[in-house]
């Protein structure tokens, strides 16, 4: 009987140690981000970053995303609903973490569309049509072009603008910031510098709502 007890106690100790480690790690990480948000705000928001929402908003929702990522696409309407429900209190910041192979291409199109003032229209179209050009087993980036005119874009100008080295620099800076913030999966969310305790719709909503409560 004694041996069973030894093994059981060891098992409980190991699991407890693991849970303790998880909590310790998470609280330390949260502290680190909080510090970075205060001291190094530009890691979260760069001057060139595309934002949506009122400048008076006190809750900054930073989203590291990839136009070719399905989960980013799935979160897009959810974030919009969150913003609509809290009118004027949330500012959305889009950062790029194009981890999918060849996703740079779509970021370049998006940044070129920004120059025509059609950023959000283009992003909407991209997410809506994503399954046609970003399928994992058969990515066909060229197919995106047939959908772009519906965003009201001048395609010739896009083709010209998207090769601007400035856009490449933006992507590199965003990737460097993503690395600094330990974003390894997309979408990566930060709400006023705080990361999600665990990934999910509910967790994002809770974090945003608790920040709104704190700031307003």
């Amino acid at each position: 009987m004694k041996k069973q007890v030894i093994v059981l106690i060891s098992l409980v100790c190991l699991i407890l140690l693991f849970v303790l480690g998880v909590n310790l790690y998470k609280s330390q990480r949260a502290k680190k981000y909080e510090f970075m948000a205060q001291e190094n705000a530009s890691t979260f928001v760069r001057d060139y970053s595309q934002t949506l929402g009122s400048d008076d908003a006190k809750v900054y929702l930073v989203k590291f995303s990839d136009p070719a990522c399905e989960t980013c696409s799935a979160f897009h309407p959810f974030v919009k609903k969150l913003m609509a429900a809290n009118q004027g209190k949330i500012k959305l910041v889009i950062r790029y973490a194009p981890f999918h192979d060849g996703a740079d291409y779509f970021v370049k199109i998006l940044e070129a569309a920004k120059r025509q003032g059609k950023y959000w229209e283009t992003l909407d179209i991209m997410y809506k049509t994503q399954r046609y050009w970003a399928s994992h087993h058969n990515p066909q980036p060229q197919r995106i072009w047939q959908f772009l005119p519906s965003a009201g874009l001048n395609l010739d100008k896009i083709k010209n603008d998207m090769n601007d080295p400035e856009i490449t620099k933006i992507i590199q800076q965003d990737l460097a910031d993503a690395k600094a913030l330990n974003v390894r999966k997309t979408p990566g969310f930060f709400v006023n510098g705080k990361s999600l305790p665990s990934f999910g719709y509910k967790q994002l909503q809770d974090l945003v709502e608790s920040e709104i409560k704190e700031m307003y």
């Binding site: 693991f18 998880v22 192979d101 330990n182 390894r184």
Partner: protein
């Protein structure tokens, strides 16, 4: 307690220690990937394939103590050790990165953790597999006496 009892107790303890090492390694690797968000590379996955089942089969071998556990655990540990050793060579630069089998985003030679300046994740894996193998060989010798 007779001498025979003492000996069988020590044998049990050896397997028990192996089980602890495998459990710590398993939980540790899960901590790296699930909590710290380090993406496991292809070689890490091969090592996990051989480490995770050790936790289960060593535990089964403990109740009641079954000496044939060596026969089942040792091949797993040796196969895992092979991958760990290869990974360690890759990590420390003895094998050039150009011939590494990983692709798509996660590099097998990128350093994520460097404890005390020498303890890396592949090193930890190599230590775990080596210790389990040595302990199982000791047990084998004791039992064949």
């Amino acid at each position: 307690m007779t001498n025979l009892d003492k000996a069988s107790n020590s044998n049990w303890t050896i397997v028990f220690i192996c089980w602890i090492i495998a459990s710590v390694s398993t939980l540790g690797s899960l901590f790296f990937s699930e909590v710290m968000d380090f993406p496991p590379c292809a070689l890490c996955w091969y090592q996990r394939i051989f480490m995770f089942p050790l936790v289960i089969i060593l535990l089964v071998g403990l109740f009641p103590f079954d000496k044939s556990i060596i026969k089942y655990a040792l091949p797993l540990a040796i196969a895992g050790w092979g991958f760990a050793f290869y990974h360690y060579l890759l990590y420390s630069g003895f094998i050039p990165e150009s011939i590494q089998p990983c692709s798509q985003g996660v590099s097998c030679s990128e350093t994520y953790l460097d404890l005390f300046g020498f303890l890396t994740i592949p090193m930890l894996s190599l230590i775990s597999f080596s210790t389990i193998i040595v302990l199982l060989f000791i047990l084998k010798r004791r039992l064949s006496k």
